[in-house]
């Protein structure tokens, strides 16, 4: 077939949307309501290996045992890895584009053994280091989502 563009037809899907309603589950809801109501973080501890998962979930994958012990974890922690994004992304949930550049990081909260992904308040990669201390900054208006955390702020000096 030829690649003559004027004779080739493409059809647009237009404004087609596929909306979903995802449940956060019992543990996820506890995690998000604690953020919303008390600005606190909660994880779940494995009875076998002792690992604390944040956000909490039902099963420890490596041990394959059910997790039941919810435990508080700190709103402070350290950067495990990070990136500064220079290429815009239109959030399909909101239709808005976050201004670039923006930074986000994998953060190990004190008391947790897994890392949480979130924005950080720094866009110069030279000023972020692995191991840097950070703390959660919360929004005034909170709705029960991870965006109730505005970002993590570098604890400077």
């Amino acid at each position: 077939m030829s690649e003559e563009k004027k004779d080739l037809i493409t059809l647009e899907s237009g404004e087609m949307a596929q909306p979903f309603r995802w449940t956060a589950g019992a543990y996820g809801s506890k995690f998000l309501t604690e953020l919303r109501d008390n600005k606190k973080f909660v994880g779940v501890k494995c009875p076998k290996c002792g690992k604390v998962y944040v956000p909490p979930r039902r099963v420890c994958g490596p041990c394959y045992v059910e997790l039941t012990e919810l435990v508080p974890v700190s709103g402070e922690g350290e950067v495990v890895t990070y990136t500064v994004v220079s290429f815009g992304f239109v959030d399909p949930a909101t239709g808005t584009q976050k201004p670039v550049p923006y930074g986000y990081a994998a953060i190990m909260l004190d008391g947790s053994d897994t890392v949480l992904l979130h924005f950080i308040d720094e866009t110069d990669p030279e000023k972020i280091t692995i191991g840097a201390r950070v703390k959660a900054v919360f929004e005034e208006e909170r709705t029960g989502s991870l965006l109730d955390i505005k970002h993590f702020e570098l604890i400077r000096g």
Partner: protein
């Protein structure tokens, strides 16, 4: 494991946009090419495995829309939603079950028809991760940063992978991005997501490919150019990026160990003549080479810089140009298998490496190489 061989292979040309061809057209082109390569008719194909992703196709049960194109009419057909190396693994198992003597495995992808960042964002958890705008590039940036800082691998060493693989693509007629580059040009390309720059990234691509597998006795009747599966394994690690140490390559270690054990390989660097691995981003090549045991942890960057992985080196890696030179997702891993098969047969054309007896093909699935599939192929049964 009973003997199973690759008896036919087919790849379409990889392009940024194959506007004249819908994905069934690409599937037909690849499947027809594989049948012709094997000298088989569709009647000799006992069952079919298709490889596709519903999000990319914009259609649910995407595999069922290619029934005509892949020749699965009146046959048992099943689908793998994942990389082509995993699809081929399922095709192989169907032969090993004893129920089928031959399997056609086909994979397709049209990156031109959707928006890659949105679709790769959708592989992440909708409650805990998508809001970041995290996608294939930015998640890989987190992994690249973790790996480079842990082991001192440099952006320059990663740039050398881009120069090498795009340069190798100059000799591969199906490659999308044959480029003569310098390290300086890669280094001065714009950051997409620090430390990943534009020329560290694979392109968005359209393409399809197909492989025909056959049991030992069938293979010997079909062709004199059978390429034998000496070892194969896959292994998966945690889904949530936060549950993994991103510089860790434990799942790849495990998959490689099992595949080497099956193939009787004790010294991969000596026993394997050529590697085709999943280099969606430059840093992945040294990282996966470490995971495959070709060098010590942290030595992948130095291995690249040493020139050993160049086409004329001791261990040519991605002589085809790799995924950096054309990355139809899902198809890309199957292409690694096909490139290895062609090299073992001596049919790789201008990018043929002399004397390839044993080759390793590698594919990944899930964010930042959550799962790995390793194939060892050889010319002897």
């Amino acid at each position: 494991m009973d003997a199973v061989a690759i008896v036919g292979v087919g790849m379409t040309q990889i392009k940024r946009e194959r506007k004249a061809d819908g994905y069934p057209d690409l599937v037909y082109e690849a499947s027809r090419a594989a049948l012709d390569d094997a000298g088989m008719s569709i009647d000799q194909v006992d069952n079919v495995i298709t490889v596709s992703n519903d999000f990319f196709d914009g259609r649910t049960i995407s595999s069922m829309a290619i029934q005509d194109a892949c020749g699965s009419y009146d046959k048992n057909v099943s689908t793998v939603e994942g990389d082509g190396t995993f699809g081929a693994f399922y095709g192989l198992m169907r032969i090993l079950s004893g129920s089928y003597g031959t399997t056609l495995v086909c994979a397709h992808h049209k990156g031109s028809e959707s928006q890659m960042p949105l679709i790769t964002n959708a592989m992440f958890d909708p409650i805990y991760a998508r809001f970041l705008g995290i996608d294939a590039v930015t998640s890989s940036a987190l992994q690249a940063r973790a790996y480079m800082e842990k082991y001192g691998v440099t952006e320059e060493q990663c740039a050398m992978v881009s120069v090498k693989n795009h340069g190798n693509a100059l000799k591969n007629p199906v490659a999308q991005l044959p480029l003569e580059l310098t390290v300086e040009e890669v280094m001065s390309s714009p950051y997409i997501s620090d430390p990943i720059k534009l020329l560290d990234c694979c392109p968005i691509s359209d393409g399809a490919s197909a492989v025909i597998l056959a049991s030992g006795d069938r293979a010997e009747k079909i062709t004199e150019k059978a390429v034998w599966v000496k070892g194969v394994a896959h292994c998966s690690s945690a889904y949530h990026l936060g549950d993994r140490n991103l510089y860790c390559v434990c799942a790849l270690n495990e998959a490689a160990k099992k595949a080497y054990s099956m193939a009787g390989i004790s010294e991969p660097a000596q026993d394997i003549d050529l590697v085709e691995l999943y280099d969606a981003f430059t840093y992945m090549e040294p990282l996966w080479l470490e995971g495959l045991g070709f060098c010590e942890r942290g030595e992948g960057g130095n291995l690249t810089a040493s020139g050993k992985t160049a086409t004329g080196g001791e261990l040519p890696v991605n002589a085809s140009g790799g995924c950096l030179s054309g990355n139809p997702v899902l198809v890309a891993g199957l292409n690694r298998i096909i490139e290895c098969a062609l090299q073992v047969r001596g049919d790789a054309g201008e990018h043929q490496v002399p004397g390839v007896k044993t080759a390793l093909a590698h594919g990944i699935n899930g964010p930042c190489g959550q799962a790995h599939c390793v194939w060892i192929l050889g010319g002897e049964k």
